[in-house]
């Protein structure tokens, strides 16, 4: 085998130099990929998947007493109050909860009468897991627990303390926590591995008569 000519050697040296530089640059970028500089909310939702809540900039605008549908055909109604923790709306099922908790936002002028939150929903249940509890809190204040035990929709109401309701003008941050949430794969309902608890058909804040 003959030795490479000076031109050949120079070409080889150039190619090796380019390869080395490029490889070093690529390694540097890969290293950056391992050290993201992002906000904690971003990291929790996108990178660590510690939360299923990426908060939308929902207005929360709401007319007291009106029932908001979570069926697909009325998706625009629900979009104004949905914050996070919901799947895409379905035509028949309404909107399934997504993950360990969901959030809604209601903003309306304060009223002097007592208020209650009415939730019409069915649940992810089977014989082994016959109920889904929903721990309801508003602006961080626990207001009670309700239960759903059938896939068919039922309506449950829960009273809103006056002191909590008084802040409705700034927006009430309603949170549903689901201690019994189960994935469809475990419950035999579907092939989805993500936890679900309730399928919300409608929600309303009503004045107590």
């Amino acid at each position: 085998m003959s030795a490479p000519s000076p031109t050949g050697r120079a070409r080889r040296a150039t190619l090796w130099t380019l390869s080395g530089l490029l490889l070093a640059l690529e390694a540097a970028v890969v290293a950056l990929a391992l050290m993201p500089r992002v906000e904690p909310d971003y990291r929790a939702y996108y990178i660590d998947a510690e939360t299923d809540c990426w908060p939308r900039a929902s207005t929360g605008d709401y007319t007291l007493g009106s029932e908001i549908s979570f069926l697909r055909e009325q998706a625009d109604e629900a979009a104004a109050i949905k914050v996070c923790g919901w799947f895409y709306p379905d035509a028949d099922d309404g909107t399934w909860s997504h993950g360990a908790y969901s959030r809604l936002r209601f903003r309306f002028p304060p009223v002097a009468t007592p208020l209650s939150l009415a939730i019409t929903a069915g649940a992810m249940v089977n014989a082994a897991h016959p109920r889904q509890r929903v721990d309801v809190s508003i602006d961080g204040t626990a207001i009670g627990t309700i239960e759903f035990s059938t896939r068919d929709a039922e309506t449950r109401s829960i009273a809103i303390p006056d002191a909590v309701a008084a802040k409705s003008g700034e927006g009430l941050e309603v949170r549903f926590d689901y201690p019994d949430a189960r994935p469809g794969t475990e419950m035999g309902a579907n092939e989805d591995p993500r936890p679900r608890a309730i399928r919300l058909e409608a929600v309303a804040i009503e004045t107590a008569e």
Binding site: W16, Y42, Y46, P89
Partner: protein, 389 residues
Amino acid sequence: MSNPSLASPVSARRPADIADIAVPVVLMLAGMALRYLAYAWVYEGPSPAGFVRSLCVWDCYWFSDIAQHGYQAYPEQVNFGGPAGIANWAFFPLYPALAAVIGRLTSLAPDIVGTLVSPLLTLAAVMVSRPLFRENRGAFLLFAVFLLAGPFSFYFSTLYSESLFVLLTVLAFVLLEDGRYVGAGVAGALLSATRVTGVLFVLPLVIEAYRQHRRDGGTRIGFLTALPGRPDLVLGVVLVPAGVVAFMAWLYWTTGDALAFAHIQRGWDRVLGNPIAFLLAGLDPRQSSWLSDIQMMAFATLGGFGLVAVLLVQRRMGMAVFCLAAMLLSLSAGLTSMPRFIAGLAPLWIALATVLARYRPLLIIAVLACLALDFRLTVLWLHQQRALM
């Protein structure tokens, strides 16, 4: 058994023929006319502007957004109903950058640029592919029909990156079969800047280099020991990921997360999983209706795997491995968009064209079927049939 057709550079084997240029041009125009007819069939009062707008559905919005405004700095907080937090980072930059440059030069809107440029890129892909077919003109022309006036030509006719991906794939394989590893690496880098699966071109590059080494009488272990004398091959391999790495660097600069293109999939409710499990779930006969959208996606995926097997039988190992890896990677995020991803894998069409062109009656039937399906599937696309998403 050696493959004599690979023994010399493919680009040096035959002179260009006027028919090899004229027929694809005619096919491109015929395909555009067919799709316009499909549009006129669906919509009343058709117009060229309406045609452009009607073809531009689903991801076309995102490519248009990037071409006009660049990449977002932060995810959307207003969403269309799902788990939330979407951003345009999922879409790789080369194609929208091309649309942006042409848009700036011509003052045309991105969807118009896409409708004009994508068919031209596809035509270029057909022209560039000619050496891969060697003396098999029938297969070449059928490949041209598939891309320019075939069932999935609508993907190559609007603001989607499929046309550029097909062009760069074909170019990369032509250069690879010529043994021009640095050139193939550059094409691979552009490929990986077009779509994440482009980075998988590193596999055929190594495979074909190894096969060439063996054809030249080298031993298995000798392939590794010969590498110090092959800086062109090493540079080619290192070049391929450069496209995706450049995009990662840009994302880090813009968002702080170099892997934002992957992480943002969470906003679309797409989770990584076992690709075979996704496929089997799609084939489950207990669906709400026969040939549901998800079943159609699953059958298309099976068809893609079938064509990978054909590539293996044809001893096109590099192409087979590239397509198989690209399909598995895409399938690991679910069946959604699999027909589009498969349609964008040019080697699969090369395999199919080579088989069908062996028998003249079959070739004629295939051409007629393609033209009919071009019309029919364009109608479904205009109706936004989810299976074609």
